[in-house]
Amino acid sequence: MPYETDYTNQKFSVIGNRVNRPDGVDKVTGRARYGADASAAGQLVGKILRSPHAHALIKKIDTSKAEKLPGVKAIVTGDDFPDFTGGNRSLMDTLENCMARGRALYDGHAVAAVAAVDAQTANEALKLIKVTYKKLPHVTDVDEAMKPSAPVVHDWIRTAGIEPAPTTASNISQRNEFGHGDIDVGFAEADVIIEKTFKTEQTHQGYIEPHACLATLGPDGSGELWVTTQGHFTFRNMCASLLGLDVAKLKVTSSEIGGGFGGKTHVWMEPVALQLARKSNRPVKLVMTREEVFKATGPTSSTSVDVKIGAKKNGRITAASAELRYQSGAFPGMWGMLGAMTSFACYDLKHVKSVGYDVLCNRPKVAAYRAPSAPMAAFGVESVIDLLAAELKMDPVEFRIKNAAKKGTRASYGPIYGPIGIGPTLEAVKNHPHMKKRLGKNQGRGVACGFWFNFGGQTCTDLNIGIDGSVNLTVGTVDVGGSRASLALIAAEELGVDYDQVRVTIGDTSSLGHNDTTEGSRGTFSSGMATIFAARNAIDVMKQRAADTWGIPVEQVVWEEGVARAKGRQNSNLPPLSLKEIAAKSPRTGGPIAGHNEVVADGAGVSFASHICDVEVDPETGSTRVIRYTVVQDAGKAIHPDYVEGQFQGGAAQGIGWALNEEYIYGEDGTLQNAGFLDYRIPVCSDLPFIDTEILEIPNPNHPYGVRGVGETSIVPPLAAIGNAVSNAVGVRMTHVPMSPPRILKAIEDAQ
């Protein structure tokens, strides 16, 4: 039975409470089981041999010596992965990324893998595999890669989105243009035009838990995979497709996850572990080192962005344009396209054009990183917005408010907005006490806005009520940010029971229908919707049981505050039946009580945030300290405010690291120079101030509780907010992220 998804403005009794998280004790006591914490009888250790070259032809792989090493049970190379992709180019890219097929495309690309009885033997075997390479020219810089003279990463790439279609290969996989109006007309109307070029370096999501899995795969094609992932159903489908398996014969269980942020939405070495397991007929455990995580998983794009915005003296923007060049690693991506779509989404623009280019380089295959592509576009756009405001002698917040998108605005990526929250976030920033705090010497303040789409997707949940009235909710969206607590609150709210009565489990792929990956800020939005409906499904069952017990039609039964009540004067002698009473009698009234729901949860609603940042820059060293930071974001209904605030703070913290320190550094030879947390510095607690938050609860009309996704948008404004703050502190416009001490000093020196 379909249930209505519309927002109903119901009053809540449980939702909104800051209850303890159900996984908290396990995590702080070390009992929680992560990707590397599983083991099986007879398991082998898997290790991967990786290319030391940025780009090379693999002329020969000689595994004969390694095969003879005692304890080695299986070795695989590209030859062990037949093509089951059926011509699907995207699948083939994934397969080729997991294991090179004739060419190593980046430093760290897998070229062979070993399963052995222990790690020492496996490492020894890797040393005995002799790979004969012929080095090829490489390119790692996005602007260099676009030049006609650049080494071509794939000779089959023809730039899509260009008419007439090119006939020769290039590193530009696609060009995407968005916008409306006529920017030439708009710029002609402008009194002031600012144009700047910006660069951002490649960063990694920096999750603390490395990729890890335990794989079994028998000769009958039946297997199991225990893995740290954001989407075990997607991993199942992907591995089955790549290895020629029946989807139903591969059971994938998601472990606890130590961070993902988009980096665990795709398979990297899991098909390799399964293939090693198949070849050895033994379980194989494969755990990446931190160096492997940096070199061979999916960081975000490095970018090069031109932004041009014009405005009238009255502060109204007349035209805006951007060209965004996003590096996608060694395989095509959609990152430039997303940058182009999100770049001007915060503003109400009559004339706008954004063009995104996706560009291949000899770097690892880029993956999503929390609102992928939007932070880099926002860095350029929000910097120019600040420059324009300064030129017009307007307050930067007032300038943004004057030009903010609203209901009825045509978004720069196409559609007309319904009700949106950018205006309220900016008004909240304007009135926030943070904006009134006086700044000291060498200090600067920056403000920036950000946009992200959010989405829902396929979702399936089961809700089972035990005979003691306790509730087991099984969901298929991996809990990356506290969703088990939120979903337990939702089930408790619907059923009218205590939060502590509900236990939420992430079901494996054999226990539920397909669930899309936890990405796009969808976990609580979509599984929350399915939980509401599954609970209502179970309530329907309980109402029927009560009606049968009383001998009255079910239409005369209502469910209120955790009990079934018989309506009407004729039933006034019937005492209410509680959930616990109905559950206790269930074996004799029809058997187990359960609710189920499968839903395509669309209508997630777009999301906006505005951030305020204060920094202090040491002019002698160029070192920057963030001294105060405030996040304002529209969350829809905050189911569990702690976790909403946690998402806001987490996005800001990652953005601070990205803005000030984090950077993939490649050498002249195209190899990564800083593949470890000592040389690639993510922020730690002592680097960060307390990050203040303000949740705006503007209900999403397409969710019964008004929920919106909250996980991603908070990483969009920080690069720009910090860029504006640093620029205001040092008096020089910063155009290159990260704004590391050497870059800040150079910018100051250049200006002098």
């Binding site: 995407n176 609102a371 992928p372 978004a411 319904g418 829902g456 990405e519 796009g520 669309d602």
Partner: protein, 80 residues
């Protein structure tokens, strides 16, 4: 009704950014669009999103499109 397109999707319609289509649901109008421009099928297979009056639907093909709605075909979006 008209469906509007942008980005790389326009290449499949010979550069047209609006196409006249018919149907009551998202699924119907996508079928109608493919009939007129078969090259768009490749993009539908890769995944698209449809914005109806600004609300973005990635997966629901049974979504009814109210009379007079603005319908916008977008590339499918990945998240993190």
């Amino acid at each position: 009704m008209q469906i509007r397109l942008s980005g790389i999707l326009c290449q499949a319609t010979g550069g047209a950014s609006t196409v006249e289509v018919s149907g009551a649901t998202i699924g119907d109008i996508l079928t109608s669009l493919v009939q007129k421009h078969p090259a768009i099928q490749e993009h539908l297979d890769d995944g698209v999103a449809v914005a109806v009056n600004g609300e973005i639907y990635r997966d629901r093909r049974d979504q009814v499109i109210p009379e007079g709605s603005e319908v916008f075909l977008l590339p499918r979006i990945e998240g993190g």
